[in-house]
């Protein structure tokens, strides 16, 4: 399929500090979600499903795993002759000091040569941290119809939560008249999703100017968008209605996983018309043993369940031994739960062993416990 002359750039350099040990060695976009996925599978699959064939992935923090993961474009079908996933960590350049990406806009600025080589008409800027399904082709149609200079995807949020977001104030036509970062008294409830479509020529000029501006934070939200508003450019809000989550904390990551247990959950990962693609692992179907009990749970291939699993999400090849009791938990790939072990309200990180008889988490706690090291029985 020929490209719809839009190139996507995914900002995937963030650490996600509040995810604690989960992001100690991997960047946030590589964190596991939903029984078999990594968060970055969502924007990448969205690109593939939207007919975007070329995607740049800007990495920075702990990028080894993420680089190799994202570079295998065949996972998302982005490996045809005219398509690809291009991993772009900071690099040394002739005549310039080697530097990290100083901000979201700087990450794009430092890759102007890469974008030029694809000569796109439009550039789509995405975040690698968010879980949602969205057709960017529709957003591009809207962008064209409005004859916009930039289109920003916005999500209606509850008014009382609006002060946690970057809020777009729009006129009746959807044109953005004001942008307020985390306003104390929000005038609207349209939160920026960090998804932008720019005309590349215009953005390029702005980025070149921004690079040399010593007062700038080199950030889309703080610098580029306000400058464009001041310059009287046509900024439009594209309203998105659907499931969208920024899983910034252990609690919110747990919640987002639990959302999948709801029969009518909005994300609907079972939709054959908009599949989320991910790494293909060679394991058997999961096996549920004779004395097992599985209730209201989400279970991936390769698991072997011999104990009780309730209200939980089990990733690839998790083993739950006899008489173990797993409730309200998220068990990441290759977790082993020993005989009689009890887990409540917890996320257990990849490959962690919970020894027989150990007790983890607390059914009455408000917060979710993260288990990232082997738990021995006391």
């Amino acid at each position: 399929m020929r490209q719809n002359n839009m190139l996507a750039m995914i900002l995937a350099g963030g650490r996600g500090t509040r995810l604690e040990a989960l992001t100690k060695k991997i960047a946030k976009p590589a964190v596991y979600y939903g029984g078999k996925y990594r968060i970055i599978d969502f924007p990448l699959s969205n690109c593939a499903n939207s007919g975007i064939n070329n995607v740049g992935v800007l990495t920075q923090y702990e990028s080894v795993l993420l680089n190799s993961y994202a570079a295998a474009g065949s996972r998302w079908g982005l490996d045809a002759r005219d398509s690809g996933v291009f991993v772009l960590p900071p690099r040394e350049k002739d005549g310039a000091a080697f530097d990290v990406y100083r901000g979201t806009a700087d990450a794009i600025s430092q890759n102007i040569d890469f974008i030029d080589s694809h000569s796109p008409e439009y550039v789509l800027i995405l975040s690698g941290d968010h879980i949602y399904k969205m057709d960017y082709a529709k957003m591009l149609s809207y962008h064209r119809a409005q004859n916009a200079d930039v289109t920003i995807a916005v999500l209606p949020v509850p008014m009382k939560e609006a002060s946690r977001f970057g809020i777009m104030n729009t006129d009746e036509e959807g044109r953005i008249v004001e942008f307020e970062e985390k306003p104390e008294h929000p005038k609207s409830n349209l939160a920026s999703m960090g998804i932008y479509i720019f005309d590349w020529k215009q953005l390029r000029k702005m980025l070149v100017a921004d690079m040399d501006n010593s007062d700038s934070n080199h950030d889309f939200g703080k610098d580029i968008i306000p400058t464009m508003l001041n310059d009287g450019k046509r900024l439009f809000a594209y309203e998105f209605n659907g499931y969208w989550k920024d899983v910034g904390t252990i609690d919110s990551l747990w919640e987002a996983n639990m959302d999948l247990l709801d029969k009518n959950n909005e994300l609907d990962l079972n939709d054959p018309t908009w599949k989320i693609y991910t790494e293909d692992v060679a394991t058997t179907p999961h096996f549920v043993g004779k004395n097992a009990e599985v209730v209201n749970s989400y279970i991936n291939q390769g698991c072997v369940v011999n104990g009780k699993v309730k209200n939980s999400v089990l990733f690839t090849s998790v083993k739950v031994a006899e008489n173990a009791d797993v409730q309200d938990a998220v068990l990441m790939p290759n977790v082993e739960v020993g005989e009689g072990a009890v887990i409540h309200r917890a996320i257990v990180a990849q490959g962690v062993k919970i020894d027989a008889g150990a007790v983890v988490g607390d059914p009455d706690s408000e917060h979710i416990e993260l288990i990232s090291k082997r738990v021995r029985c006391e």
Partner: protein, 371 residues
């Protein structure tokens, strides 16, 4: 790396899998919910370092061609390796003439052009795990002309009917190949797996064609038992020969014995298949599953006991499934009770509330059927 190429043969006329085989070659039949039978020989070859694999197809190629694709999912190198799909000639006149020798002759150029000195010939309807690079090493070391593989079984009276049996001397030399007529309990069932030089293979194919227009490859090997040094090696561990409906059902069910499953599915010996990118399986509060293999993408609201459930199946509230093998994309409606049934792909059982096959003689529900 392995100094041989692989040929995956199609099933002989002794293989008659009621229903399932009407729609597809044996190799394309769904197994353990997630796999197709051909995934086992191809994964064995790929894991053994065999980079060039030919798959011969007799008829109904659609599902197999779709499943195999470029072979990338079998970990076959896309430049130095090859998964070569070779359909047989379509104008052989009668089905009698549509045997493996005909396919080898029809595709002789593709066989001659392969640049490996040895060939490993394997069947598409048998499920077992084997390292063919070890087998090839032993074959070369022994100096034999052909090395075959068998498994000694003690239920040959009731199972493996019409399968090849090897008569061996004490040194494990092959004296003859005959059909299992179900007379003896203990027999050496042939795994229809052969290792030999490419040169000998081509000679035998030509010789078979000159001897009889109805000869299969096994027939010419049988003829040559006294002329050639043909030896057999014993395979131990899980082995299933899917030659009829009952063996299909039993082989699926036998893997419910988790030790057997562990023997077949070794962590260091992955069985590859085509992914269909389905999400994990969802269990609802009313779902109850015991002693079963469940593939991804299912929605389970009912009760499932001693079953194999394929990818993307829906089990509605109140439904009860016992001792069933459910192919992918099947829907079992509310309050439907089925027992001892093999349900083929995409069937929907929603109205008839009771569908119970005999234990040991399961029922079959056709592909795309509406009940």
């Amino acid at each position: 790396m392995c100094n041989a190429f692989g040929i995956v043969n199609f099933e002989g006329s002794n293989v008659k899998i009621k229903g399932l085989q009407d729609y597809r070659p044996a190799g394309a039949i769904s197994f353990l919910g997630r796999y197709r039978l051909i995934d086992f020989p191809i994964s064995n070859l790929s894991n053994s370092g065999v980079n060039h694999i030919q798959v011969h197809i007799k008829d109904k190629p659609r599902s197999l061609v779709e499943h195999l694709g470029t072979g990338r999912h079998y970990n076959i190198n896309s430049k130095r390796g090859k998964l070569h799909i070779l359909p047989s000639s379509s104008d052989l006149g009668s089905d009698f003439y549509n045997h493996d020798i005909a396919s080898y002759l029809y595709n002789m150029r593709a066989i001659e052009e392969v640049n490996y000195p040895y060939v490993i010939l394997v069947p598409s309807h048998m499920v077992y795990r084997m390292d063919y690079s070890d087998l090839l090493d032993r074959h070369i070391e022994s100096g034999a002309d052909i090395t075959m593989v068998y498994q000694s079984v003690d239920n040959a009276k009731e199972a493996f009917i019409d399968c090849d049996v090897l008569n061996l001397n004490k040194q494990k030399g092959v004296l003859s190949i005959e059909k299992n007529r179900g007379i003896y309990k203990t027999r050496n069932i042939s795994l229809e797996t052969y290792v030999m030089s490419k040169e000998l293979f081509i000679d035998l194919v030509k010789k078979a064609a000159n001897t009889s227009s109805l000869y299969w490859f096994r027939d010419i090997v049988n003829d040559e038992c006294s002329e050639l040094d043909i030896r057999a090696t014993n395979h131990r561990g899980f082995f299933a020969c899917i030659n009829d409906f009952k063996s299909y059902f039993d082989a699926n069910m036998s893997l419910m014995d988790f030790d057997k499953a562990k023997d077949l599915f070794d962590e260091d010996w992955p069985i590859y298949t085509r992914t269909n990118d389905s999400c994990p399986t969802q269990y609802y509060p009313t779902g109850r599953v015991v002693n079963s293999f469940v593939s991804n993408g299912c929605l389970i609201e009912g009760t499932v006991e001693n079953c194999i459930v394929g990818r993307g199946c829906v089990v509605k509230k109140g439904a009860v499934l016992k001792n069933c093998v459910i192919s992918p994309s099947v829907v079992i409606g509310e309050d439907v009770h089925i027992e001892n049934v093999v349900v083929d792909k995409k069937a929907r059982i929603t109205r008839k509330k009771d569908l119970v096959g005999e234990s040991g003689n399961p029922m079959y529900v056709k592909r795309d059927d509406r009940i």
